[in-house]
Every structure is written in C-alpha cells, then in structure tokens.
C-alpha cells in the first residue's frame, strides 16, 4: 500500500505547488462566495420557482454542496485531466512502466491523487460556506448533520467520479486531447441537462453528481408551503432585477437509505471503470514510439549516412534583413490548423455548414461558441508552446521577439476564429448587420487574447481550458452576462467594455511576457 501513498503524495505535491493551482484556489474562493447571494443581490443560484431559502446553516450547506458538485464537475475535470499525460511527457511514465506496479494500482493511485486535489478545493468551499454562515447567515442553531451530509453524500462521491473519469478519458483518448475535451463537454451537458426530477424519482439515483436527490428535497419542501405544486427548480447563476424572491425556511433533507446506497454504488462504479480501463492502458507503450521507429528517415533510408556532406560557409547564399510579420503569422497559422487529427476538420467543416443552415439566431448564439470551443486545443497553448516544446531559448534570442511573436500568434489565432465564423459573418453581411460582424471580430480577438493572457499568466494551458469550458457552457445555457462575441448584446456599452477588456489583456500579456523573458 506504500506505493499508493507515495504516488498520491508526489502527484498531489506536484500539482498543488503550481501557480495554476493557486489561481484555481483563488477562483474557487470567489466562486464559493457567490454560491449564496446576499439578500439584496440581483442574482440567484439555487431556486425553486420563486422560492429561495433563508441563509440558515441547512440551506447554506445544501446549496454550496450542490453548487460545489456542479462547479467541480465543470472545472475539476479540466483541472486534473493531465495526470497520465504529464508522466508520459516527463518520461517518468517509462520508469513506472518498468516497475512491478499493476495497471489498476497505478490508475487507482492517479485517480485518488486527482480526488485529493479536488478534495482540497472542496475543503476551501466548505470553509467559505462556514464563513458565509457566520458573517451573512441568519444565525440560529448550526445543524452540523444537515450542513455536512450534502457534502458527504453528494459532493465527495461526485468529485471521486470526476477524478476517475479524468483517468478513463486520458487512457481512452490518449493524445487526442481535443476530442477528450469536447466529449466531456457534451457528456457534462447531458448529465446536468435535467435537474428537474419531476415524477421520475429514478433520476435521483442515476445521477452521478448526486444533486438531484437534494434538489428534489428542496422542491418538496417548497410544495409543502406553497399553494401550487411546483417543479420549477433551477441551479446556476440567474441575473434579474425584476424577479421577486420569496424566502422560506429550509429544514433539511431526509436521507433515504436508497440514496446513500446509490452513492456507494457510484463509487463502486468508479472503481469498476478504473478496472476496465486498466485492461486497455498501454503502460506508456504509445503508438508514437512505434511510428518513430518505423518512420524515422535514418531508419528507413540508410543511404543518408553514406552521402555525408559538410556545411560550406563560403557557399551559403547571402540573406537580407526582413522584419515582416507575415512569415511568422503564416507558420503560426499552419501550426494551429495542423494540430489534432486531420479528420477533426471534417467536424469543423460540418459545423461551418451548420452555421449556414441553422436559423441565424441559434447559429450565432449557440453554434458559433460551440464551434469555437471545439478549437480549445488549438488555442490553449498559443502563447505557451515555446515553453512546452522547448523552443523558447532560440526564439527569445531572436530579433524583437516579444512584440513580433506575440502579435503574430494573436493574429494567427484570430484568423482561425474568423475563418470558422465566416458563415455567420457572411449571413450578417447579407443582412447588412455590420455591427454583428464587428462583434464577431471582437469576440474572436477576445478569445485569442484571452488564451494568450491565461497562458502567459498561468504558464500553461489548463487555466484557459477550464475558463473557456465554463464560458461556453454558460453561453450555451443563455447566460448573457458572459457574452463575449455580441451574441446577446451589441450596444455601445458592450463595445466599450470589450475595448477596455481587450486593451487590458494586451497590456498585461505583453508586460508579463516581457518580464518572464528577462527573468529566465
């Protein structure tokens, strides 16, 4: 059992010592604080029809546990889904592969390490929930059982499952990270789609997040005090000044033995998934290694060795200074479009055709952000690939690298965004809606600048993946508050805000990169 402890400890320390994890913790604190809105705030999170619970310990415990389950599925997966890939990239995987550790033991240890990372965030959320109770709560008795049980029964099994899923996806999809990200996005969408249980009580037991049982209890509590029989449950962030909230005292859930059993079964399913995955885990004997041996030009063409030449300095043609950005943009664009499997472009072209055919409003508000999201892998390492691929030393020692390279990268990424949005752009131009076209241009520029900014600030692509996922999920669910591409607003205020945001992103990105290079 000692190896479990050692792998989990090493993996946990490696992740939590990163700058990205610190940022995630800070974001978690902010998000956890927003789970329970103040009475005078203009938004709500968990609501049954117009009813919202008073901020007693039971309501705070239930709501923060429900929101934590959702939040940690939403971002947790993207936070931890590089566990095996990192072992592969660092070469540690090949060392592990030569040890006696079984596939199941290795994958279980990795899943438990993922779980520990997410448990740390859960712990922070619980602390925030306690803080909310003491500083913004109603006071009264602190019901420890009703405060803790939602976490114990819903959140903790839920984050265990997402930790396992991250491992299952990594093993199944291997290097196809784009497909991995996109598949999870749709899986999450399906799982979370129906929070409203209604009469179909079986749904509460087949819910991996475990939140539907709790939300059903809230609905039942409201039905005992309201005249009508409501099923109108909603969870998320809802911004409205007009909707009146009615407050009720939520006394807690009755915890059925079937629900508790269902949560234990979900944990068992998690281990079962790990067991099945361990049968297909290749133990770092990747296809790349085989391909390399087969296709290495030295290997297939030994003649190269017999025709050795030397560089003749005097024969090298003279070159001229040429500071244009076009060749850099061209190559950056090439790298963007070559990323991922070639067949993925069939999906992209399919998406572009759909943007032509779907009703313009849906194509613009849903189709376009989803199609952009499919490119998450292309944009995520736009400004960090020098570090990842180890080219930074000779690229940063070239002429005026910060201004020329970062500008070219942003422009190349922007061109990709605009290319994918062409069907919508053309349709808007035909309609004479140049404002919408401008909004799409700004949206594309924002996405790419945001990818660069998050990459430079966090030093990796994970932060962008998490935020882009959350952003797209919110947009698809109609949260106009996070509209970055003018799908919901195209007024003067929108353009002013985006101009300021873009300006700040550029300034911070260039300053951070400058500082980073000088302090290598």
């Amino acid at each position: 059992m000692n190896f479990y402890k050692n792998i989990i400890k090493a993996d946990y320390l490696q992740r939590t010592r990163s700058y990205g994890f610190l940022i995630t913790l800070l974001v978690s604190v902010y998000v956890a604080n927003s789970f329970i809105p103040a009475y005078d705030s203009h938004y709500s999170t968990v609501r049954v029809s117009n009813f919202v619970g008073r901020n007693n310990s039971v309501w705070i415990g239930h709501v923060t546990a429900v929101m934590a389950s959702t939040f940690l599925w939403l971002i947790g997966f993207y936070l931890v889904n590089d566990s095996i890939r990192r072992d592969k990239e660092t070469g540690v995987g090949q060392i592990i592969a030569t040890t006696s550790i079984s596939n199941f033991a290795y994958l279980s240890a990795k899943a438990l390490s993922n779980f520990c990372v997410l448990l740390t965030i859960t712990f922070i959320i619980i602390l925030m929930a306690l803080g909310i109770y003491f500083f913004r709560g109603e006071g009264g008795n602190f019901d420890v059982i009703q405060f803790v049980l939602p976490y114990l029964l819903a959140t903790i099994p839920s984050i265990f499952l997402v930790s396992v899923l991250a491992i299952v996806f990594e093993v199944t999809f291997g290097n196809r990270t784009n497909l991995l990200n996109v598949t999870f996005f749709f899986l999450f969408g399906i799982i979370i789609a129906k929070t409203n249980v209604g009469n179909n009580l079986a749904l509460v037991y087949i819910d991996p997040l475990g939140i539907k049982y709790i939300t059903n209890q809230m609905v039942e509590a409201v039905n005992t005090i309201s005249l009508g029989n409501t099923n109108g449950f909603s969870a998320g962030y809802f911004f409205s000044d007009k909707q009146k909230k009615q407050y009720f005292d939520f006394q807690g859930s009755s915890w059925s033995i079937y629900y508790i059993l269902s949560r234990i079964i979900w944990i068992a399913i998690g281990f079962g998934l790990l067991f099945i995955t361990s049968k297909i885990f290749n133990r770092f004997d990747s296809k790349n290694i085989v391909l390399f041996k087969k296709k290495s030009p030295d290997f297939i063409n030994p003649k190269i060795k017999t025709e050795l030449k030397e560089i003749q300095l005097s024969e090298l043609p003279k070159i001229k200074p040429h500071f244009a950005l076009f060749p850099i943009i061209k190559t950056e664009f090439l790298m963007l479009i070559r990323k991922g499997p070639k067949w993925f472009w069939l999906i992209n072209f399919g998406g572009m055709i759909a943007l032509f055919l779907f009703p313009l409003k849906e194509a613009y508000q849903i189709g376009l952000p989803v199609l952009w999201f499919l490119q998450i892998n292309r944009w995520a390492d736009l400004s960090t690939k020098e570090k990842f691929f180890g080219t930074s030393n000779f690229i940063y020692s070239s002429f005026n690298p910060i201004k020329r390279l970062l500008t070219s990268q942003i422009l190349a990424g922007f061109l990709l965004g605009i290319f994918l949005a062409l069907p919508i752009v053309i349709r808007h131009l035909i309609e004479g809606n140049s404002i919408a076209v401008l909004a799409i241009i700004i949206g594309s520029l924002f996405l790419v600048s945001f990818a660069s900014f998050t990459g430079i600030v966090s030093g990796g692509k994970r932060l962008f993946e998490i935020l882009f996922f959350a952003l797209t999920y919110a947009i698809v669910n109609g949260v106009s508050y996070v509209d970055y591409f003018g799908g919901f607003h195209q007024g003067y205020q929108y353009f002013s805000i985006m101009a300021v945001v873009l300006f700040l992103l550029f300034i911070i990105s260039f300053s951070f990169r400058n500082h980073e290079i000088k302090n290598q």
Binding site: P297, L313, I319, I328, F389, N393, F399, I517
Partner: protein
C-alpha cells in the same frame, strides 16, 4: 569584434547566485567553457544570448551595452541552447523558415540558404517530413542549421555535441573551426576532449565564478610536472585516494593504474604529459 563581460552577477535568492561578479573579455576565436554541473556556464550563455537579464553588471559588444540594447546582439547571434525542442508538426524546412522570420532575415536567397544548410547537416532527405518523427541526433542537427541561418558573428553553443554520433562530432568540429576565422565562438561541453581539440582559449567556471581563463596551453601548464601514473595494489587504493587527487584509474588484475596529481614524485611513479582534463579536474577540485 570584442565582447566585454563586466562584473556580471545573476542572483536567484539572497544566498544563491548563478554568476557572481564575473568578468571576462572575449575576442574572435573559439572560447571553450568548462565547469561542473551548476557552475553557471548555461547562465552565462543565456545572459550573453540576451534571454536572461543579469542582476548587475554590463556586457559590452564593441562598446554597446547589450543588456540595455539586446537587439544589437540578436541580429548577429547564432545560439544553440543545451535543451531545446522543435515543433513536431512542422518539417525541418518550415521550421527553419519560421526561425529565419523570427531572426528578421529573408530575401530571395533564403530558400536556397536553408536547402544548403539542410544539405550540410545531412537532413535534406528528411527535410519534408515532420520533425516529430526525427531522432534526437537529427533534431540536434536542425538546431545546428538554425544557428547559421543569419550569418552570425557571435555563436554560442551549449553542449552542442549531445546526441551526435562520432562522425557528426568530427564534422561539427570542422564547422566550428571554419567559423572561428571571423567570429566569436563560445562553446561549452562536458566532454573536455571536444574543447581540447578546437578551443583557442579556455575558461573554467565553478560556483558562478571564473577560476581560470587563458590560452589552452597556459591552462594546461598549471599542472605541468605534477601529473603522474602509478600502479598500486587494489587494497591500497582507498588510503591512496585520501592523500592524493586522483584523475583517472584503470583496473588491472590485482593492481590499479592510478593517474594522479602530486607535488612530489612517489617511488615508481611515472611523470606524464598533462592534458586539459588534468588541469580542469585539478582546478575544479582544488579551488
């Protein structure tokens, strides 16, 4: 061309220095940098290559401070870092075009120059294949080709022979000798024989400080008439090791042939010609 390094320090924390008050003048020719791991060789090269800023000090290139004006050196620099990677989805030709654009060079002859360079590093046959399929040695040769894209006048090679086979190492040494006629070449290597064969001058660095700098022969002369070889009994080896600085050992049947440094000749010991490696080991272990 003259590169003056004046009192350069690179401080990481209050007590950890990469370089400490380092000064040296480098002129056309080949300078070999020697030093144990963590001595500060790569830090010095990164600072000269303008990708790392010193905490204090100046580097003057023909009188111009390149810490303040890094583009001054970047236009004439060819740099091969110790650990570098490539973009696996580009082929060698596209990758070199990209680096050329980054270096701010072009013109009608660029394609021809890239072809000639790829031919010279024996990669022309694989030039159109993704670099992701290359072996370590082939990637190293792509690195060498990118160094020469811009007609550099200052060349910095950090452990350049890693991954090269013996034949390629010989060709690389010939190339450096050609370059040294009109350029400053700074070369670091753990393989002392690589430096010994081609460097005019040698600098030995330890703990971020310059402990020796000069013509190769002058460095070797520091251990002249001090290097001996002696065959000793295997059982006596440990006590011998405690009292002498051992440079090399060759195990024989019951004996060990020991190469060591000593101020006085021991009975049966044989005086040997000193090498750069002897001097390097003597200086890094003693100082």
């Amino acid at each position: 061309m003259k590169l003056e390094i004046k009192n350069i320090s690179k401080q990481y924390t209050k007590s950890i220095f990469g370089l400490q008050d380092f000064s040296m003048v480098i002129e056309n020719g080949i300078l070999g940098l020697l030093g144990p791991n963590g001595a500060g060789k790569s830090t010095l090269m990164k600072i000269i290559a303008s990708i790392s800023n010193p905490t204090s000090g100046q580097i003057l290139l023909d009188g111009v401070d390149i810490v303040k004006n890094p583009n001054q050196i970047r236009q004439i620099l060819g740099y091969l870092p110790q650990d570098f990677g490539v973009y696996p989805n580009l082929n060698a030709y596209e990758f070199l075009e990209y680096i050329a654009a980054m270096k701010g060079i072009g013109g009608p002859n660029l394609k021809d120059r890239i072809s000639k360079l790829l031919e010279g590093v024996n990669l022309i046959g694989a030039a159109k294949k993704p670099i992701g399929t290359y072996s370590g040695g082939m990637k190293q040769r792509v690195g060498i080709a990118q160094v020469l894209l811009n007609d550099p006048r200052i060349l910095i090679f950090d452990e350049p022979t890693v991954g090269l086979d013996p034949e390629e190492r010989v060709r690389f040494r010939n190339l450096i000798s050609d370059l040294a006629n009109h350029c400053i070449v700074i070369l670091s290597s753990h393989i002392v024989s690589d430096i010994e064969t081609i460097a005019d001058k040698v600098a030995i660095i330890k703990n971020g400080q310059l402990i020796s700098h000069g013509y190769q022969q002058d460095i070797i002369d520091t251990v002249k008439n001090k290097v001996y070889e002696l065959e000793i009994d295997s059982n006596d080896f440990n006590s011998f090791k405690e009292n002498h600085l051992i440079l090399n050992t060759i195990r024989k049947k019951d004996k060990i042939l020991v190469r060591y440094i000593g101020d006085e000749k021991l009975p049966d010991a044989m005086l040997c010609n000193a090498t750069l490696e002897d001097s390097y080991l003597f200086q890094t272990k003693n100082k």
